[in-house]
């Protein structure tokens, strides 16, 4: 029987299209993925369409070829739309479902002014998700509100004299359907303006390139509202974006990776996540051995929870993490065999000293290499030291499972930290850094704590870590003075809490330093004497950063990890203490293709990108270039780049919507693939 006959035969049978979800409720700003099942027809594909019910007014939103529905920015009246799936075989079968739309969640990002005088005044409220009947509340009391746009409301405020000096919470409530209130804690203070830091949009965006996964509008406004320092204070108190519970997942790490990117793009705890990633990279990146959620999730949590803690605690938690232990061979590391033929494993011992904490040679407090009287570098430790650290790290195994008998090598248990098994610990005396000894006869726990104390106390640690953190977040080639200032924040001489190793104080020092902030107002690169300033954007930071600039919507079905992996680690850069060797110019192609995919491909249901704001101005090449400058270059875009973007747009037709979109895509591609963007300034 030919295919055609088969198709005809089944087409005349009971053809049926089933659509799921069958009656969804969708909030503006979110998307929903529809799926259709075709039975009784050989051809299984459907064509999607969306429309308003008879008599409906407004726009119905859009649905992609793959069935991803995106609501309109403003609710139609009534607030329902009809999604239809029609069999592509022939128009004999279709099914229609009713979608109920709800108003978006309102988010308050900032107010202008920040201080309101006693008496009557007008307050501008910036944020997102505002709808025409939205209402502003001050400390829970509704005030007269005027809708300006989805991102701006104005309100009539009447503060009283007794309220002088108080902080009033500013919230916004959207009306039904789906009416909700904003949950952030934006406040205004009552009284005369005392000159709280004024931050330009460009400076706020640049700060967030360093402190976060780049800016989106809400975070930019928030930094402007609070100033850099108070923004960090707020971020220090913001709850962690969660990772999924490994027990609920299958063996694939894909959902964990997807959540990493969802968090990076949308998480409110931007600074925590960025710091966690920076620290994770300093400790060698995601362990190659972490091939399951059970291994990966606890590992990621170590950094998420330790990002704003003390480095000493992080050092311990990293060392006894089970996935780390598996990758670096801390778990099940045996003491020397009785005949001496087999000795403890040096893997973690060497990397801990060489690449995680101290470095191979002695450093000055500003990170420069300390020289002896012959002008030579001085080794920070010897091979014997490495071997003694390896002995310290014996006797640890996976935590004993409940009801099991502790063994020298327990079966894998990733949920908990490694646990000591004393009979497998080398109890001999160890001579560690700078000749400091651990006496014989100590337990595995005592030895590990003692050894990490010695590492933590080593004078190299502050400049070593300072340089590496600056390189992760700000510039690969900081001045010696910058390193010294951050290092002094690590030691208690800094402006921090007076506690050595306080990562909050260290991070403040990295981000608020004059050298980090020097580019905010400059507009012209390079700043005198700092020609080597800059930081190569790693793909795992650059991709979320591009998406945040586009105000993209990302969910847990995204496959951004694959896209990022195909972009490669990027060329090695000067000043990077561990350059990815054997990586060459050909990787440029991988990066270009990754940016191409972001701008041109359908990335599936997990990533929704609306180029609308860029398309809207793409009829005019100059306006398009200026918008790209604002979003991605903080206003310092060199004239040559601006001219080039105008030429790109000018070389393409730009009348129809499709043409304007092509212009926007081309200009963004050219700007984001350029060396000027790939090097974070």
């Amino acid at each position: 029987m030919s295919l055609w006959v088969l198709l005809l035969a089944t087409a005349w049978g009971q053809a049926l299209v089933t659509v799921t979800p069958s009656a969804p409720v969708v909030r503006v700003g979110k998307s929903v993925q529809f799926a259709a099942t075709v039975t009784g027809l050989a051809v299984k594909s459907v064509r999607w369409s969306v429309g308003l019910p008879v008599g409906g007014k407004g726009l119905p939103g859009t649905i992609s070829e793959s069935g991803l529905y995106t609501p309109p920015a403003v609710l139609p009246v009534p607030s329902t739309v009809l999604v239809t799936a029609t069999s592509t075989a022939m128009n004999v079968a279709n099914t229609r479902v009713i979608v109920s739309l709800q108003n978006p969640y309102p988010v308050v990002a900032s107010t202008l002014p920040v201080w309101v005088p006693a008496g009557s005044s007008t307050l501008t409220v910036n944020g997102s998700g505002f709808v025409p009947a939205a209402q502003v509340f001050l400390d829970g009391i509704g005030v007269a509100t005027t809708f300006v746009s989805a991102t701006r409301l104005t309100a009539k405020v009447a503060a009283t004299v007794p309220q002088l000096g108080q902080q009033l919470a500013v919230t916004v409530t959207n009306p039904a359907p789906g009416g909700t209130s904003s949950t952030g804690v934006v406040t205004v203070r009552v009284g005369p303006d005392t000159g709280l830091a004024r931050v330009t949009t460009g400076a706020a965006r640049r700060f967030l390139q360093q402190a976060a996964f780049g800016p989106d509008t809400v975070s930019m406004l928030r930094v402007q509202h609070l100033g850099f320092s108070e923004y960090l204070t707020e971020q220090f108190g913001t709850a962690s974006s969660p990772f999924p519970d490994a027990a609920t997942l299958d063996v694939s790490v894909a959902p964990v990776q997807a959540r990493f990117y969802t968090n990076a793009v949308h998480g409110k705890d931007q600074v925590r996540q960025r710091m966690a990633l920076a620290l994770m990279e300093i400790f060698g990146g995601a362990p190659a051995g972490a091939r399951s959620p059970a291994q990966l999730v606890p590992f990621l949590r170590v950094f998420q929870q330790g990002a704003f803690g003390n480095f000493r605690q992080l050092l311990y938690n990293v060392t006894v993490n089970a996935a780390m232990g598996e990758t670096w061979d801390v778990r099940n590391n045996n003491k020397a065999s009785a005949d001496g033929a087999t000795v403890p494993n040096e893997n973690y011992a060497r990397e801990l000293l060489e690449t995680f904490t101290v470095g191979p040679v002695l450093l000055n407090p500003d990170g420069s290499v300390k020289l002896n009287e012959d002008g030579e570098a001085v080794a920070a430790y010897s091979e014997k030291t490495v071997r003694d650290f390896a002995k310290v790290l014996t006797g640890w195994t996976y935590a004993t499972r409940q009801g099991s008998i502790p063994a020298r090598h327990n079966p894998a248990n990733y949920d908990r930290a490694l646990a000591p098994f004393e009979a497998n610990h080398d109890t001999s005396e160890k001579v560690l850094l700078n000749g400091v000894k651990l006496r014989a006869g100590q337990t595995a726990q005592q030895d590990l704590s003692g050894a990490l104390d010695i590492v933590f106390a080593h004078p190299n640690l502050a400049p070593f870590l300072a340089h590496r953190l600056i390189a992760q977040l700000v510039t690969d080639s900081p001045s010696r003075a910058y390193v010294a200032r951050v290092a002094s924040a690590f030691t208690k001489s800094g402006t921090g809490t007076g506690v050595r190793g306080d990562l909050k104080a260290v991070l403040r020092a990295v981000l608020l330093d004059q050298e980090a902030r020097a580019g905010d107002a400059a507009g012209n690169w390079p700043i005198a004497g700092r020609e080597t300033h800059g930081h190569w954007r790693a793909p795992n930071v650059m991709v979320p950063s591009i998406l945040r600039g586009l105000e993209a919507q990302v969910n847990d079905t995204n496959r951004l990890a694959d896209l990022v992996a195909a972009m490669g680690p990027g060329p090695s850069v000067p000043g990077d203490p561990a350059p990815p060797l054997w990586a060459g110019p050909e990787q440029a192609v991988g990066r270009f293709n990754g940016i191409y995919a972001l701008l041109y491909d359908d990335l599936g249901a997990g990533v929704a990108i609306d180029l609308g704001p860029f398309v809207n101005v793409a009829g005019d090449g100059r306006r398009l270039a200026v918008l790209i400058d604002d979003i991605y270059f903080q206003g310092w875009m060199p004239a040559e780049l601006q001219t080039e973007l105008e030429a790109v747009a000018g070389g393409m037709a730009g009348t129809t919507l499709a043409e304007k979109k092509a212009r926007a895509q081309a200009a963004l591609y050219v700007a984001l693939s350029s060396g000027l963007y790939n090097v974070q300034h």
């Binding site: 778990r331 099940n332 590391n333 045996n334 065999s337 033929a341 087999t342 000795v343 494993n345 040096e346 893997n347 060497r350 191979p360 091979e383 390896a390 690969d476 012209n524 690169w525 390079p526 020609e531 080597t532 800059g534 930081h535 195909a566 490669g568 060329p571 090695s572 850069v573 000067p574 203490p577 350059p579 060797l581 054997w582 990586a583 060459g584 110019p585 050909e586 990787q587 440029a588 192609v589 991988g590 293709n593 191409y596 041109y600 060199p638 040559e640 780049l641 080039e644 973007l645 030429a647 790109v648 081309a666 200009a667 050219v670 693939s673 350029s674 060396g675 000027l676 790939n678 090097v679």
Partner: protein
Amino acid sequence: MRRRDLLRMAVLGAPALRASCPSDYRALVCVMMAGGNDGNNMLVPIASAEGDPLISYSQYAKARGGLAVPLESVVRISAGNGDQFGLHGGLKELGELYNQRKNVAVLANVGPLAEPLTRAEYRGGKGMVPGGLYSHGGQQAEWQAMAGAAFGGVEGCEATEIPLPVWLGGGNGAGLRGGGDSPRMTGVTNLLRVDDGLTMVRGANTLTEVGLAQSRMLEAALDGVEPLTTAFPNTPLGRQLARAARMIQARGTLGVKRQIFLAAIGGFDTHERQLTDQAAALAQVSGAMAAFYQATVEMGVGDQVVTFTASEFGRTLQPCGGGTLGSDHGWGSHHLIVGDAVKGGDVYGKYPAMALDGPDDATGRGVWIPTTATAQYGAALGRWFGMSEEALAEAFPNFESFAGGAPGFLASS
């Protein structure tokens, strides 16, 4: 430093012309075994011709204990002087080539050295040692200096005739998407000339320009070229070497006289699980290198292409104990050179005495002080490649100060 050299070469081009570029074609292909390949299990001693008890399987097996590979698993080979060795069983294909076609050579105990160094000097803290010993980063840089940017300097060749090394591990081989002529690509190309004074932007532009140019050239050159019939293993290294073969295929269209390729394979940092992990990694090396050799024969350049291995260091003879046995970072190790120009079927250099605290041991754990410097290894390859003596002296500093100079595993051109 290597990166700077690369950039400098890209910007300034090849040195001034003095002679004309050789008319024949030659290529060097480096296979980097990243992580530190354990040479002790790759080239297992069986019996020395002179009956040296420290170069014997029993001595090896005693020192290695549970980490020793069984004698019955190795591919038996003989050195020219009658020494008996076993190549790791994972190197089945390369072992066959060694024994049958005699176009595989082994170079024993090679590694970075700053100057000739004795054990007494090392132990006494006297001699100069290379920087970053026992460190992945430090020693990879040393090897990359020898195996990557160093090659070039073939007298009379223009930059178009001897292009920059191609890092095969860097890309996935996919061409540039949307790379055809368009206002967009014009913009991209123009911007490669635009920087704002930051050195990193300049560096990024240069690297990007080289990468895009390589990609474009290859696509153009391979347009309409028949694929090779040689089948490559579908492994990371197999795919990299398959791409190298395609670029060699395009040599005529590209108008190149010399090509340099750098491939990399990971999985050699075997602090644990060495017996299984190293076997898998070496099997991948052997399968891919043997297929690549077949491809050069198919292209008629079997004696014009030399493939050689590199790795940041060897590993300690003394095992370390964890859940499963492994070994720690060492120094000197053994390497393979493949191609019809190779005077193969022989083991060059000096095999170390398999004894802890023995005459070759630097640290007491069976860490071999190299008896051949990487500079010598590189000079031998570079000389065959056609580098001038001045270029050799610059690329491989002091190579002649080491005993024996450049080893003779390649027929001199």
